[in-house]
């Protein structure tokens, strides 16, 4: 008999843990981390785009053009980055 009792108690405890996990999944503990993440993602892509444009300008000697183009491409890349990670957060 005590064995059966233990089994039911174990079952109840397992259920409780499962419920807790399900409940925990709803509120994300790292929401502040996510906020930090978004801000830098935008800036970093713009910086990378500008650097690539600068390097191209240096090598080809076409002073302002590549830096202009790649700056805007970098802005677009940053925005897509932010949208993508925001989508990932919603999942």
């Amino acid at each position: 008999m005590p064995k059966d009792q233990f089994k039911t108690r174990l079952e109840i405890a397992k259920k409780k843990i499962l419920e807790k996990n399900l409940y925990n999944k709803n509120d994300n503990p790292s929401s502040i981390g996510a906020a930090f993440k978004l801000s830098t993602e935008l800036v970093a892509a713009v910086a990378v785009g500008t650097i690539i444009g600068f390097i191209f300008d240096k090598t080809f000697g076409t002073k302002p053009w590549f830096i202009l183009i790649f700056f805007f491409v970098g802005v677009i890349a940053g925005i897509t980055n932010v949208i993508r990670s925001a989508k990932n957060m919603q999942k």
């Binding site: 981390g33 830098t40 993602e41 970093a44």
Partner: protein
């Protein structure tokens, strides 16, 4: 009293000057705190895993909790395929966490408030994940830059955008950690300076502010280590399981 809030970030030499070629590799305060935090990690986890008693003491509990924390983080974000990289992500997380936390002790030096440290960590992660991706998928890894369902006309632009966003990963990873740590520590120093300059009459308000800031900074120190590790997991996930 240091009036300049940025003097806390100064790197100075401890001991003799060592030079290899044109490089100065002398032992600095930054390297001292890196050694201290790695030693602290080693000692804590060695003592914590020495006796595997059923009823854990505090050290064992701490190391077991951090083990399960990191392993759950990896399982949630990168899946079972990332299991072999557990040791790497665990040591990365612990190193960043301990460096951040050691920086919270007064008169210490925060290693992670220097962009070169965080950038080296991030670029090491970036390079190794790229290599892992190419080993696992061969040239199929380049499919990461070509999302499916894009019209052919837009393809060149999309590929350039994808490449830029891929290259921006190490920069965003390193700038995030460095900027958070530096801004927080500067702010704490500034408010500490206000306490001194306003004296016993008006110094109470900035004092309460800096107490609150200390709490916030401890939170940020943990959170940034967590974000650093979890983003490594996410990038690893991209390299291991190609979704695009």
């Amino acid at each position: 009293m240091a009036t300049n809030p940025m003097t806390q970030f100064q790197v100075y030499r401890i001991g003799p000057e060592i030079k290899v070629g044109a490089f100065d590799i002398s032992f600095t305060n930054a390297s001292l705190f890196m050694v201290v935090s790695s030693l602290a990690i080693l000692i804590i986890f060695n003592l914590g895993s020495k006796k595997n008693s059923l009823l854990p003491n505090k050290l064992q509990l701490m190391s077991e909790l951090s083990y399960t924390f990191v392993s759950k983080m990896i399982a949630d974000t990168a899946g079972s395929k990332a299991r072999p990289y557990f040791a790497f992500i665990f040591s990365l997380f612990m190193f960043v966490l301990f460096c951040n936390m050691f920086g919270m002790i007064p008169y210490t030096f925060t290693v992670t408030s220097h962009i070169i440290v965080t950038f080296v960590l991030a670029s090491f992660i970036f390079i190794s994940i790229t290599v892992i991706g190419f080993i696992k998928h061969g040239f199929g890894y380049l499919k990461l830059f070509v999302p499916s369902g894009v019209p052919v006309v837009l393809l060149p632009l999309i590929v350039v955008i994808e490449i830029i966003s891929y290259l921006s990963r190490p920069i965003s990873l390193s700038v995030r950690l460095f900027a958070n740590m530096m801004a927080g520590h500067t702010m704490m120093k500034v408010f500490g300076g206000f306490v001194i300059s306003l004296g016993i009459v008006g110094g109470w308000l900035p004092l309460s502010f800096s107490v609150a800031l200390t709490g916030l900074e401890i939170l940020v120190a943990f959170l940034q280590a967590y974000v650093f590790a979890i983003l490594t997991c996410i990038y690893l996930n991209d390299a291991l399981n190609l979704h695009h």
